[in-house]
Symmetry: C2
Subunit: 248 residues, 2 copies
């Protein structure tokens, strides 16, 4: 936790915040904070700033910490990139949500595909209150406040035929990860000037029909060389490579 | 498992191999193989090739599969990069070993540093027979055969003063990950023509003394921008960015 994230509704009218649960536990047990200490805070979907500890009650566990806060510093820039991800198994999705959030992804579209295990759409993780914590872990790691929007699309065709054109109507360009695709360095520089949508397939890859559907929407393929990587490794590797190539 | 890895000592004089345990379980239970099926095989630290299934005995669990194999195809090129990693907690190290192996890292030096928890050096994971499986998972993922060498250096000074100069005597160049360091695109092209040693610090970062010691050996800093990433995310991101910049 490199920043303590606070919901706007938690801020009392006198500007104080009372932390309980995971955050008070972290401040008391891990950081061993004391009254008067200053720490980095962020308002969720708002500004970064600092908090000063006014009170600490260590017991009953997990304690209670009262802060006075101020926040006027903008969070880091996002990547200018949204992710389309064929829904992976929940344990993999948790990792990807946290890593994508920490790297500055804007929105995450979880979609169906031929090689997606259909039962994953019933995972408890797909409930807002459940997946949100993994996004927040990623933001706490990278000191950001903007929670990526997550949208679940349980049917492939309506996504690719209806939702996708709407997502691209503002000039967003699409790239699709596919083994054997050219390196991101081969992307047309015009593509890299636009907002990007990066589509990453399931373990086992996209099927031909899916690739054709994305190509119809103007998606261009990119690859990571000869090696087949796990989905979470591939997502981080592609985000890292694209962030080198994106302006700004 | 995108390739079945076989130890040279497992190959019988008639060219057959008998698989038991994890690999037979995978072939029988996950892939539902049948006699006559062909599959991708690799000889550990040797060639890739194919195997044909001659016999399957499903019980007793996890079964037994007999293959005839041939292997004459070279594995994919390695990255031309070795990793120096401040020893992370075991759960993190498992992920990094598998991911680094899958991405083609040559050798992995696990070192001590001021912010490394000393007890991690007693982890059972640091025994050859234990960590080896995670490297192998990475190779099975990316269809490679070359097992990265892992070397544990439990004292920082002897590593940096004695071992490191020896590692760099052949013209290998060093780069050190440090928050706020310049992007890898700013690296001198001469550096990128050499074999690389990439040093990644502990959660919390290198201390000033450690940075100075690496600088004395000619290491230049690189960073990943404003965001603080977890060590496993940072390793994959840096390997991905460097692989874009390395020749070949």
């Amino acid at each position: 936790m490199n920043v303590i994230l606070i919901n706007e509704e938690e801020i009392l009218t006198d500007g104080r915040v009372v932390l309980q649960g995971r955050r008070s536990e972290h401040l008391i047990t891990v950081l061993r904070c004391e009254v008067g200490d200053r720490l980095k805070i962020g308002i969720i979907n708002g500004m970064l700033g600092s908090g000063r500890i006014l009170e600490i009650e260590a017991s009953p566990y997990p304690g209670r910490v009262v802060l006075s806060i101020s926040a006027s510093e903008p969070p880091p820039e996002k990547l200018g990139l949204d992710l389309i991800l064929a829904l992976p198994r929940p344990i993999m999705l948790k990792k990807i949500l946290a890593q994508a959030a920490s790297m500055g992804v804007g929105a995450i579209h979880l979609i169906n595909a031929n090689r997606v295990e259909k039962s994953f759409f019933n995972a408890k993780l797909l409930q807002v209150g459940t997946y949100r914590q993994y996004l927040q872990h990623g933001l706490e790691q990278s000191v950001d406040t903007g929670v990526p929007q997550v949208v679940v699309h349980s049917r492939f065709r309506p996504f690719v035929e209806d939702a996708l054109p709407a997502l691209m109507a503002d000039g967003t360009r699409g790239i699709i990860a596919h083994p054997g695709g050219p390196s991101p360095t081969a992307l047309n520089p015009e593509v890299l000037k636009s907002r990007l949508l990066l589509a990453v397939g399931p373990e086992g890859g996209w099927v031909e029909f899916e690739l054709a559907k994305f190509r119809e929407q103007g998606f261009v393929p990119v690859g990571l060389g000869q090696r087949i990587l796990k989905v979470d490794t591939a997502v981080v590797a592609l985000l890292a490579q694209l962030s080198l190539l994106l302006p700004g």
